[in-house]
């Protein structure tokens, strides 16, 4: 029986749970002996002119080796936005020169013998900033009255598409329009950002950092520093979560390398949690305008979405997120007309990057809210409206009006499974009973159906690499270009190799994140790893068997075609004669038994599912509590259900958190209001029910594993289900929409306003 599809316990966990993994801050390495610690001095003003930076007192402080301000490093060229659609003037200086543009902008850096001295000395750097009017919301940014980059002449970083034709909704019996906020959130990985750099006598620099893709980060840092990439060796040790915010290098990482070269000593940096909440990329940050039109029989005829995306102060990958929102705008529906457009605006806030789902949760949240509002408007059960409009089951490619080509999907099946598992009719009956009785605690039932795109980099040359070697002692090593930071690749990749070779999982070591050993790799992001990196390991095992077959044929004086894999022996034997053969380990004795391969999928895959959330809303206080989350998530063939469920659980937690709790807030002057975990309402287990998982597996033909991505589905399906449930709980009181997060105060106020409108 194949090991694939079984619940192999994570092989990496004993290390994580007992001896401790080695994160960047934990590194003990001879090359880092005597390392200095970098402490960044950050602007506490959201927008202003830098009048002076006086570091003279700090330079005299104990343990201070050097202080750098913009004046001290004139040779550092500003960091380009790196995106062709962004005005070139929107570039980030390494250290704020004339202006600061967000609270957290780097103004100076102190190098000290230890971290304590760094924070003490940082207090002595005197920064004089003349505040300017701030741009916090996208609406303010769009006025172009206050500009972040005067030379750019606008706050608009990018525009994608134009408005829909004027007659787009003409003929619709019902048209519902709503502004929907998909709020700014913080990724909050348990491991904050950290980096270390040491230059060797050979002129090469080794950079250790916590990141989701060593190879990409290496290329960016080499580019920023003007270095020959061959001179950069980048290592990502154990990484404690990323959620998209550790995609690509951060300027601080390159800065650490530059500083190490400048002072001739290794340099380390580890940010604290408050610095993380200011300096690390945030996610989401979309102001959406959704319009949905159709007939009173429940048929939707047209759907349009416009996105105003926050970029934050310096455009990063957030700029392109709305393109994914637009691509997935049609979602699971067979709407005949779909229109999507977007505008990206810079504002005085932390830069926006990818966050678990990255553009797709925003698409799903918008359309699922729209469908619910349409259902409410025509007085039809939201499940029924979905049934009427979902794309019927298909197993041949389906192209949507928004331009995506889905591989396979059975959305109605997913929905029905979720409704059945939830006991939808009973829930509606209980809801009706509570409404009739006028109970304080009302029940809300929220639905979402979703389809998302995973491995979206396919076709962009982002094949994935794998190297597989069997050693004479019977162990094997897998080198992968993916970059696990919690996902469990060490277990899953070992399972994939073990499945074909018969070498036990515990004898297979999986290595990643070292650009000298693994020069090519796409990292882990966009739910790509299994379908590309895992498929590459699968392919490597296939190729290794062929290599072994040729060698074994010579040694055994047999016809290669007579040899078959003997899984019990972890080798090859002559067909029909078990025990006659030779093991892979024996074959590795004379010369290395190793293959290197690359796998490139023909297309992305499109996992889908349906979620049902049940919430209880205290109508007197406005507090919503999640009671149940029933989730059907179809990610094709599952290699290890334990790992897949873990990905779903984590995604649900973050998705629920976005619906109910989390939001990065700024005041009108751009001051962050959520810069500690006492203020940022990071979700905890006490706010989450035990999730109810329903299995569904529609294989994809795109890769030999039949696997689609699962890493982000949880945040895509759960957020709109919970969001819709909260509004559903108070819909009978006249509430039509509440923006996320559905805080008690917002829910209470929505009820108050609806009642006032009802009596007027």
């Amino acid at each position: 029986m194949s090991i694939l599809g079984t619940r192999v316990v994570r092989t990496e966990d004993p290390l994580f749970l007992t001896r401790g993994a080695t994160y960047t801050d934990d590194l003990v390495d001879d090359r880092l002996t005597g390392a200095l610690h970098a402490t960044f001095i950050r602007s506490q003003v959201a927008h202003g002119r830098v009048l002076s930076v006086d570091a003279s007192a700090a330079r005299e402080a104990p343990g201070v080796v050097a202080v750098y301000t913009a004046e001290d490093c004139p040779d550092l060229a500003p960091l380009p936005a790196g995106l062709p659609m962004v005005p070139p003037a929107m570039q980030r200086p390494w250290l704020a020169t004339d202006k600061v543009r967000f609270v957290g902008d780097i103004v100076a850096v102190v190098l000290t013998e230890d971290r304590y001295q760094g924070e003490d000395a940082a207090e002595l750097v005197s920064v004089d900033i003349d505040p300017l009017p701030t741009v916090v919301s996208t609406a303010d940014a769009a006025k172009d009255e206050v500009l972040l980059f005067e030379e750019a002449g606008t706050n608009v970083a990018a525009v994608f598409g134009g408005p829909p034709p004027e007659d787009f909704f003409s003929g619709c019996e019902v048209v519902v329009r709503q502004a929907v906020k998909n709020q700014r959130v913080a990724p909050v990985p348990l491991e904050t950002r950290a980096a270390a750099a040491a230059w060797g006598e050979d002129g090469r620099v080794t950079i250790w950092c916590t990141n989701q893709g060593a190879q990409q980060a290496k290329g960016e840092i080499a580019g920023w520093l003007g270095l020959d990439p061959a001179l950069v060796h980048l290592v990502t040790p154990d990484v404690g979560g990323g959620f998209g915010a550790k995609i690509g290098a951060d300027p601080e990482y390159a800065f650490v390398a530059w500083l190490a070269q400048r002072v001739g000593r290794p340099v380390r940096w580890t940010e604290n949690r408050s610095e993380n909440l200011l300096g690390m990329l945030h996610g989401r940050g979309q102001d959406q305008l959704v319009t949905i039109g159709g007939r009173r029989d429940g048929t939707v005829e047209a759907y349009a979405i416009h996105v105003d995306q926050e970029a934050g102060a310096y455009p990063r990958v957030g700029v392109i997120l709305p393109t994914l929102t637009m691509l997935m705008a049609a979602a699971t529906y067979a709407f005949p007309k779909v229109h999507a457009s977007a505008r990206v605006l810079v504002n005085n806030a932390t830069s926006i990057g990818a966050y678990r789902g990255a553009g797709r949760p925003e698409a799903t949240a918008a359309v699922e809210r729209a469908v619910d509002m349409f259902a409410a408007e025509i007085g039809m059960d939201p499940a029924e409206v979905r049934r009427k409009n979902l794309v019927p089951p298909f197993h041949e490619p389906h192209t949507t009006p928004s331009g995506a080509t889905y591989d396979s999907g059975e959305y109605v099946v997913a929905l029905e499974k979720a409704l059945e598992a939830a006991g939808y009719q009973e829930l509606r009956a209980e809801q009706a009973r509570r409404r009739e009785a006028g109970e304080v605690k009302q029940l809300g039932i929220g639905l979402s159906t979703y389809v998302e795109i995973t491995g979206a980099d396919t076709g962009l040359g982002a094949a994935e690499s794998a190297e597989l070697e069997v050693h004479p002692d019977g162990t094997a090593t897998v080198l992968t270009g993916t970059s696990p930071h919690g996902q469990g690749h060490a277990t899953a990749w070992a399972m994939l190799a073990s499945d074909q070779l018969g070498i036990p999982v515990e004898k297979i070591t999986v290595l990643h994140g070292d650009t000298d050993r693994i020069p090519r790799g796409g990292g882990t992001m966009g739910s790509r790893s299994l379908q590309q990196g895992g498929a590459a390991v699968h392919q490597a095992a296939t190729e290794l068997i062929e290599l072994a077959r040729q060698r074994a044929a010579e040694q055994l004086e047999a016809d290669p075609s007579d040899l078959e894999v003997d899984l019990t022996a972890a080798g090859l034997s002559v067909r029909g004669t078990p025990g006659s053969g030779i093991t892979f380990a024996q074959l590795a004795e004379k010369e290395p038994l190793v293959v290197q391969t690359r796998f490139e999928a023909a297309a992305p895959t499109f996992p889908f599912g349906a979620h049902v959330a049940v919430v209880e809303v205290d109508t007197e206080s406005g507090k919503a509590e999640l009671q149940r989350l029933v989730a059907v998530d179809d990610a094709g063939i599952i290699v290890n259900p334990l790992l897949a469920e873990g990905q779903r659980h984590g995604g649900f937690a973050q998705g629920v958190a976005q619906a109910l709790l989390e939001e990065v807030l700024y005041d009108a002057d751009g001051n962050p209001q959520t810069s500690t975990l006492a203020d940022y309402p990071f979700v905890s287990p006490t706010e989450l029910p035990s999730f109810e998982l329903v299995d569904m597996a529609t294989p994809t033909p795109i890769n030999p594993l039949g696997a689609k991505g699962i890493g982000e589905a949880g945040t895509i399906g759960s957020t709109p289900a919970v969001h819709n449930a909260v509004i559903d709980a108070v819909a009978h009181l006249g509430v039509r929409h509440i923006d996320m997060p559905t805080t008690p105060m917002k829910v209470w106020r929505a009820i108050q306003q609806a009642q006032q409108e009802g009596t007027n």
């Binding site: 924070e119 309402p681 105060m745």
Partner: protein
Amino acid sequence: MIPGPFDYVRPTSVEEAIAALVEHGDDAKVMAGGHSLLPIMKLRLAMPAVVIDISRIPGMSYVRVEGDEVAIGAGTRHHQLEHDEVARAEVPILPYTASQVGDPQVRHRGTIGGTVAHSDPASDLPTALLALGGTVVVQGPNGRRSIPVTEFWQGFFETALAEDELIIEIRVPRTGSAGWAYEKFTRRANDWPIVAAAAVDGRVALANMAGTVVRATATEEALARGASIAEAAALADQGTSPGADMHADQEYRRHLARLLTRRALEKAAGGAAAAA
């Protein structure tokens, strides 16, 4: 997230602690569980020159009946109070309220003396203590004195405690079977209350409705006049001066004060009825 430089002293007796307070005056901060002090030191919102760690002074942790009162040592940790049999029998609102503080880690470190000294208006135990009534026993170089809880909290992070005094004990009346309730409103279980209401024996105290924990005097007076719970609770926010933050503006806080007071009074009445 690294505190500024400070000296650390760890006295082994109350007298030594007070001597250290006399010596260092307002340059010093007393630390017991450290769960309020250390975070603000790490954020450099507080930079005391000296930290006096009283957590190893023996004999500061106890709960015992003394006449009509329950005496609680200032060093009693929330977890101990939560599970103390004497407290559960004699003054049940306190063990319950202790169980609502933060998370288990916080409850195993934080002390009742620390939370009383900190004078955060959004604190659980001070709210319950204010509803109970009672006294804070403090000791300075000239001996001990008792301060009624109604006079102890004077402002945001301000108390009647002199610079050279240490909290020794909290004394509260035994409430026995009297009805009580502590209604805490949070977004997450381990948060500080957005608003909370404590009710015991016709007295009501509120968290986070002013610069200190406060009594809902208009409600109490209405109850004394014989008003219904609903009528009395509708007055709960009178005389308060709530702040606004991302969780609640003033209007919503006032609403919560009225709602939680009503619920606390209803629960307390139900509890009293059940006990009777």
